[in-house]
């Protein structure tokens, strides 16, 4: 027998799907800005490990000089990114949804068990509510990262007028590095998120559009065992 279980509130779904294209545009236009002076890389003991971006990348994609265009897009869509994020945070605080989101005392320990489970090393998973421990950490972190992008963005955008924000971010130069690093973080988050969403399956994915999950409950009288997981405890959520 099927039943409907409410999962995601309208505002959560709305802000999630608005954020997706807006963040994509912010990263795209941000790259036009970055490519005007591509100074960042990772080096250890003076040996360059990664250079953002390697020469072949430019040669292959014919990266054009589009700094002015990138800035124009970036400084328009920053408004949508900020307002959408603000709506989400206000909703989360006032609805009490934050209780299911922020990590708890044992979340960091449990997140490890979730990771082992997801890597098929461990069979069981700690009991969970809406989000498992790893999700609590990841989804809280991504909100903090968004906040960090707005703050470091402001520090770079108006370093003189918001000199105190710039100071808080460790100065103009460092704020710019944080801003860039956060973007790398979004890309990594996105890759893992997509894999997890695919693994979690249709029911989970639908809940972020329709708001509910469909739960199969087998009547207790019946002895026939079903392969289908009876409850929400399979933990494969993204």
């Amino acid at each position: 027998m099927k039943s409907i279980k409410e999962k995601h509130a309208f505002l959560m779904r709305w802000t999630h799907w608005v954020n997706f294209p807006v963040l994509a545009i912010m990263i795209w236009s941000g790259l036009f800005i970055y490519w005007a002076n591509d100074a960042y890389g990772i080096s250890i003991f003076g040996y360059s490990i990664i250079k953002f971006f390697p020469e072949w990348f430019y040669d292959y994609f014919h990266i054009p000089q589009r700094l002015a265009e990138g800035m124009a897009f970036h400084f328009l869509f920053m408004w949508f990114f900020f307002i959408n994020g603000l709506i989400y945070i206000i909703y989360t605080i006032f609805s009490g949804a934050w209780r299911e989101l922020i990590p708890q005392k044992n979340s960091f320990k449990e997140a490890w068990l979730v990771l082992l489970h997801d890597l098929h090393i461990r069979k069981t998973i700690p009991p969970q509510k809406k989000y498992n421990a790893a999700q609590r950490i990841a989804y809280t972190a991504i909100i903090l990262m968004g906040f960090g992008s707005v703050v470091t963005g402001l520090a770079i955008y108006k370093p003189v007028q918001f000199y105190w924000i710039c100071w808080l971010c460790g100065g103009y130069h460092f704020a710019r590095i944080i801003h860039f690093t956060l973007t790398v973080g979004y890309v990594l988050f996105f890759l893992i998120h997509i894999v997890q969403v695919i693994l979690a399956g249709w029911n989970n994915f639908r809940s972020v559009i329709s708001g509910f999950e469909v739960i199969e409950t087998t009547p207790k009288i019946e002895e026939t065992s079903s392969d289908k997981n009876p409850d929400q405890g399979d933990g494969k959520r993204a």
């Binding site: 027998m1 099927k2 039943s3 409907i4 799907w17 294209p21 545009i25 800005i33 970055y34 005007a36 002076n37 100074a39 700094l67 002015a68 265009e69 800035m71 124009a72 897009f73 400084f75 328009l76 408004w79 955008y157 108006k158 370093p159 003189v160 007028q161 918001f162 000199y163 710039c166 100071w167 100065g171 103009y172 130069h173 710019r176 639908r206 559009i209 329709s210 708001g211 509910f212 469909v214």
Partner: protein, 263 residues
Amino acid sequence: MENEHKKKVKVPLTIEQKIKRRNFISFGTFFALGGGAVASWKWLLNAPEETAGITAGTRAPLRRALNKTELFFRNFFSNNHLVKTYPIEKAAKTVRVNSLIGIEEDENFDIQKWKLIIDLGNGKTLKIGLQEIKTLPKTEIVYDFKCVEGWDQIQHWAGVKLSDFLLHYKLHEQSNKQYMGLETPNEAYYVGLEMESALHPQTLLAYEMNGVELSNDHGAPLRLIIPVKYGIKNLKRIGKMSFSNSRPKDYWAEQGYDYYSGL
């Protein structure tokens, strides 16, 4: 089993219907809004370029957004907000030269004959030589110069505060205008500044870098140093200064950049 529960079959069906209905509505809305978003994005990407004037080179809606955003952030501008300054030892010895527009193609320029031309706006001009400017109080600044391309460098400049300069030459009436325009002697490079930024206490007419006279590449004999703006507004080798209540022409604003470019 089927027969036993025949009467109850209706109950799961209603849930089935509910699921279908809610799926239909939510996915319908999702794809409709998604389609709307794609259409809006295409509209923006294909939006016509603004009519070329004082600003040019960017899509018309994006230019409107840049101008509106400028108005919002100008609310935060204050003469009390100063750029961070550094001790002189921190200043770069090799100062980056990024562009020589207005300088490189001006081979006939004679620094000995140079005078700063001030367009007083009433058909009259004022011409001021470098020695005269040097008699005004000297101000030094060591700060992080920021290029619109993304690099920044701590640099050491010295000259006269633009606000002191305007006061000394009694350009009160001109200073009450909303904008100041500057251009190189060959008129190849030009910038427009809102007066509040021009009058900012850290805005200099600089004639020295790292304690010595400016080199040609850094804008000899006199250049603008305006820490509340990106490098593109820090015009090298000032030829003429003018005042107006509408935006003066600006080299990079004609190439799609934000007119304000304020920091």
